[in-house]
Symmetry: C2
Subunit: 387 residues, 2 copies
Amino acid sequence: MLQPELKLRRDKIRALMAQQGIDTALITCNVNLIYTYGCVVSGYLYLPLNAPARLFIKRPNDIEGEHIHPIRKPEQITGLLKECGLPLPVKLMLEGDELPFTEYNRLAACFPETEVVPCGTALIRQARSVKTPMEIEMFRRSGAAHTKAYEQIPSVYQPGMTDRQLSVEIERLMRLEGCLGIFRVFGQSMEIFMGSLLAGDNAAVPSPYDFALGGKGLDPSLPGGVSGTLLQAGQCFMVDMGGNFYGYMGDMSRVFSIGKLPEQAYAAHQTCLEIQEEIVAMAKPGAVCEDMYNKAIEIVTKAGFADYFMGVDQKAKFIGHGIGLEINEMPVLAPRMKQELEPGMVFALEPKIVLPGIGPVGIENSWAVTTDGLEKLTLCKEEIIEL
Amino acid sequence: MLQPELKLRRDKIRALMAQQGIDTALITCNVNLIYTYGCVVSGYLYLPLNAPARLFIKRPNDIEGEHIHPIRKPEQITGLLKECGLPLPVKLMLEGDELPFTEYNRLAACFPETEVVPCGTALIRQARSVKTPMEIEMFRRSGAAHTKAYEQIPSVYQPGMTDRQLSVEIERLMRLEGCLGIFRVFGQSMEIFMGSLLAGDNAAVPSPYDFALGGKGLDPSLPGGVSGTLLQAGQCFMVDMGGNFYGYMGDMSRVFSIGKLPEQAYAAHQTCLEIQEEIVAMAKPGAVCEDMYNKAIEIVTKAGFADYFMGVDQKAKFIGHGIGLEINEMPVLAPRMKQELEPGMVFALEPKIVLPGIGPVGIENSWAVTTDGLEKLTLCKEEIIEL
């Protein structure tokens, strides 16, 4: 990745560090290395406030250059800094919400004279929540490839398929268009394969994971998503695959029906499109996240679908979420979230209604906040597509 | 999952706890919950040495039963224990190598009167390293499905394909046979999509991840595996997909050639099969891991392929690894590993040689340690398959 882009990202982090009196960051978690170094390595990016970043690298063994030091273990870092005549950090931040407890303590012990603070994760996530122009361009390209894969979904559907069989064909379409497959999500207990296809009543099955909808899954070891249920006439399914084409997790959901649905389904779907339209009209820099959530609740309540909004027995408590290198970044469009939108933020907005006996309807698109509104990054048709 | 099976697993953990004077475990990481509770939940399994386990559960909201307590946050646990008239733990273990630093500290703070120790991960991994008969049966079924997918690989190959295109078709075969797709791996910075297909010289490209071989990958955000290279006549590729069919990560690699290969390739492949044969003959209960590693080095050195064994410029420092709910469990067949094999251990053995200009050859199978030897769990043909 180009140095000016990396410098821009590192300086966003440095500005937040300066506010908290932190003079150095030691960065080692994969997504944060992608953000600050441009690729995954096994090693540590040492980022001082007022000096160039240095990479202490274990693997791969073919990276060389200025300010790059091969190491076998992190205990070598302070010695190498001293050899370079560099001061040791006074207040160092580590990625406390991501590093395992023992790994954090091992790194902290490498700097016995230093005050070590765990706010690295929160601070870097804050920096990452406002994307650079290059990151938004990655999202545009990702959205285009994602759209191209979704447009082919009708061509791989065959009557008599199960949700699992169709999901496999859609996963293949995504991969053939270049999706990297891996689904990066923040939070130690969050996990999912490439995304979900939720059909009929499986969309209402509660899951342990904090995604918008659940699903029973195929095995107790991964209780979410497809359940092996037959795709049936008069029911619908929602495709919600992670669009990781260039490292950036674009998010898009679309609804397909097997034949015609009961009238109620189209009305519920239309309600979700209205929510999207109203929130897009509100979503300018300065808009408050909880206000957008409350607006959605207001619309869906007036339309009479509140009991089925964002799940049935177990409901998601958000209607949108920041996206980036991970699927769940800041901001979150949820109750009590006072955060305001800023230009450069990118988020998924996903009003969804699950109708018992029919299935999930609604919409999800990815949006970038501009200086005066939103840019849509996922450009598929939004009506229910009849198969 | 059946209660006797869960009790067996919990008692294995309890026996190790007792050795270290630990009277309670609090278990919350997904793989450890699968192991001790039978499925992923968002919550905590509270496991005392001398009393029944209790589940404190946040999500999903539809699990009920004896010894199950719905909670919103872990700070409620001690209060609920007191309500049940139960003593608080004296020495509590948490999953210190898996829980993020801040999450670990939050849980420890819930038990202010208790000595909290971080050895939960190491101790549960030790318990998990010796599988129960039911777990070995899961591996057998997984191996059969894995084999069925691999046997179809020649039918999806077409001349002119790139490594990426063929990998997508193999991923589809795996998924259609029931592979859950998700690839669980231990270690905060380890990640991979479903596995790898490494063709020609891409197999020698060093990667940041500590898998047996590397590969350039398609994007700097995931530098491992397929690179988009054309599958060329006179070269070979190795398929090494994770066989997660029932939660258990079976491991198997097979080699395919485009037409005939130079004679050297068949000799190198034969050397790997010899290594496998020799190590299988050694691998009885009591066999020492480093001895098996050293035997492999001895054979490959005598055969003249040592420079290309387990990579070229960057070499893996192991020839086998335990498998289970994660792809990298104990034991590890590596230098300085004094651990002895025990009945019930399951491991992958993967002697591999990467020949510049040709590609990777060798073999990988999954094996269960019996009372007097090994049972092979992955039963595909082992010669190089010519396409």
